[in-house]
Symmetry: none
Subunit: 536 residues, 2 copies
Amino acid sequence: MSEIFVIEEYAVALLLIATLVGIVARRSRMPYTVGLVIVGAALAILYQPFHIEVEPELILGIFVPPLIFEAAFHLPIKELRRNITSILALAIVGVLLTTFLVGGIVHLGSGMDITSAIVFGSIIAATDPVAVIALFGSLGVPKRLQVLLEGESLLNDGTAIVVFNIAVTAAVTGSFDLREGIGEFIFSAGMGLGIGLVLGLVASFIISKVDDYLIETAITFVLAYGAFILAEMIHVSGVLAVVAAGLVNGNIGPRGMSSTTRIVVYNFWDFMSFLANSFVFLMIGLVVDLPLLVDNWRATLWGILAALLSRLIVIYGLFPRSKTLPFRWKHILFWGGLRGAISLALVLGLTTKIGREVSGQLQAMVFGLVVFTLLVQGTSMNWLVKRTGIIHRREERDEYDLRRARASTTRAAYDHLKKIHKEGMISKHVWDIITKTVESYSDELTKSLQEILKQHPNVEAEELDSAWREFLQYQRLALAELLADRGITEDVFNQLSSRIDNQLASSEIAWDSAEKMDRNLWQLGARRTDLRSDSD
Amino acid sequence: MSEIFVIEEYAVALLLIATLVGIVARRSRMPYTVGLVIVGAALAILYQPFHIEVEPELILGIFVPPLIFEAAFHLPIKELRRNITSILALAIVGVLLTTFLVGGIVHLGSGMDITSAIVFGSIIAATDPVAVIALFGSLGVPKRLQVLLEGESLLNDGTAIVVFNIAVTAAVTGSFDLREGIGEFIFSAGMGLGIGLVLGLVASFIISKVDDYLIETAITFVLAYGAFILAEMIHVSGVLAVVAAGLVNGNIGPRGMSSTTRIVVYNFWDFMSFLANSFVFLMIGLVVDLPLLVDNWRATLWGILAALLSRLIVIYGLFPRSKTLPFRWKHILFWGGLRGAISLALVLGLTTKIGREVSGQLQAMVFGLVVFTLLVQGTSMNWLVKRTGIIHRREERDEYDLRRARASTTRAAYDHLKKIHKEGMISKHVWDIITKTVESYSDELTKSLQEILKQHPNVEAEELDSAWREFLQYQRLALAELLADRGITEDVFNQLSSRIDNQLASSEIAWDSAEKMDRNLWQLGARRTDLRSDSD
């Protein structure tokens, strides 16, 4: 057995476990990431071979780039620019404030020496709201608030790593030059962003020149990892390089892509970040060292307290009377400051740099904090979002869904009775009575549905829109199956699928008339003329 | 720098090169895989650090499973079943014949000892037509011919590996028990297929119970690698396990998937097999050892000659006067017998098993053959296909296919919406709007189809012809099933099947009238008269 097989077996086993956790999490409505951490920890305790030593490079070099790239790729640059002041304040001032506040509190509270405490502060300065972002989407949290939290997390990952490196050097050498520190910070962050920017532009340019969805997807893949590797090679921030590359490529690149390519690229990165997240959170659970946590419970508690307090001060103190940041949003920003993969990767890489004893203590504190934020903050976010009342789901939509459910279940039950009647289990006489009643009731239900649709044209529009999308996606699928069965050639497939994809990408709906459907979808008219003129 | 980073850098660099080759190949209309091999070889010669020692486990364990899984996933089981006799003959008898024929020719020609020559025969018995399959799709080669070549390659990968293991054991121990060899072959192949079948069914069942495209994609991923790992763990054929898993999952699994999931899963495996192919063919180039090739040029030439000769004998000899396999198709099957990843992986794993000297010689021979088939057969396939005249693509036929795909996918999507509407998920009001538009549009599509059929009677004739053939073949299949179920006697089966086969062999179509169908097919009239005269 080669080593490759051992790694492969382990990875496939982990993915199998993650898949099962995912299935159970969906049924039990528990956050997926929380389930992964719990199952990971349980596995590590119950079954020794699963307890692993995770190399920090594995997380930083393999799993973090796709996570960051995917998040940056999907972040609309327009939204980001609109909120850039707040985001930069959080990602730069916030990280520095957190580092020193947490360092001070932990030093005073637990008696840890100040340099180690500051290292701890820098380790946990990066937030990781991935566990709640999916929740935000499904609850309908305002887009701008999501962008704030995601943008902060994207940029503070990079700045926190830079600050961490400076803090560790200071802790090891015992000396710190403020001016040199600032210079290093600016150089590392700026060069990282610059490399990502340039590579992102180059990749987007190449993408615009090629039309092959496999090659284009491969280019984004090379870009995500290439930006990271190149930046790390010249010792500047790889994470920030990936952030810049993802932002540029996600906002410029897709313009040069066909709709098919866009769908493939989006889906690919969606799946990559799902894979990376699954592995990272399972590993967070797997590396939890229970005895170490128990031994350091006091310091761990101080760490959690310090993190919460500093987050409180940063969020409510940094924007004391902001007009653009409603007070209720701040609660979400405060409680949404979870910690995750970056903090874990940083603390795992410490052992070789500072003593084993201190790094062990710091590991316990970071694990404790990460698990706390996930289990406590992550699971209560749903409640908080609903409580703060920042989401307004429209009443008429709820009412419509209610009436539709009533109508469709009535219909289903009626159909079921009809079947029984046909089998002779309900007599003709009784059936006539039932029919009369149910039919007229069913009519009423239908009328009450139409009423809403008439009163609220937007509800009708929404339904037409989702039916149009369903129609297109099903056609797309039928086409793929025709190709798989070799019923059509690749050429025909490409011609037709690119039209459907264009429609999927546009916001127009074409239920108005056959002419419009034709114009939007197949352009039969145009084609027919071509043929006719050929034969002329 | 950790080792992980080194591997990552290398992989990203290779993918970058592959992407660039892909871009150039598209522009210059050169086959992608051929370009990869050439660039890989050039890199290895010009720039020493790129010359690598590829672990055979890397190819067999990491790259082959996705290649095989994707191919099996997309192979329609109905088509496979219809051609199963020819495919099994090629994949089992063909592999055994090739092994011994090549072994004999190389032994006699180059003077290599017979056991090593037979090992060589087993190494190159597996075909790998991936470099020409894409070409077939774009040229419009008959579907059945594609399925034949793809099906052969899928199944002979597995059987060749089993034969190879037996041959190596025989070469090392110096003894060979025929009965034991056959037993081992059946056990390894059967158990491998069985494991894949069971896992494929389990995975398809789970997929039908879950509705989350990320989790479902992850399940197919775990299935592909899990089947391979599990089979290899108990020392049976991992490759055949992946074949069975892919076939089952690709034919049953998608039924339990939503449209979105299907698109994501199809695209994901498309990209995975693109990645695996890119790496494998680049590596074929990178491991080419020029001095070794030069030193063994005579044996290499004999190897190529033996491979061509044995392929000639297998293809033209195995089906001497087959009615279902047109003579012209045999040229394509013969020339389409390229060799690739499997042969390479097998020969790279030899060094530890048999002496360094013999394995070096075998490596040179296999590399030489793989590169020859790719560069010579792969690049001339386009010409051959056009030359044999097995494709008749005319503009009006293309246009007809296009319109038919348009009409049928529109119809399918409309039926899908109708189902949703009946389930009450689309309101009556919205449905009325949709119906009106789609119905009139659908009418137009139908009209545009009829238009072509009227203008081009030959297109109509072709469709009638292919429907007639479909009709006959399905009857043939139903007959075989009746016999298998003991619904008819062998005598009845023989009588009826010979009539159908006669019809299949003739070029006449009998859609004109019931009388003509009767006369051509069952001759009911004649029979009836016979009966009457009997009772007289």
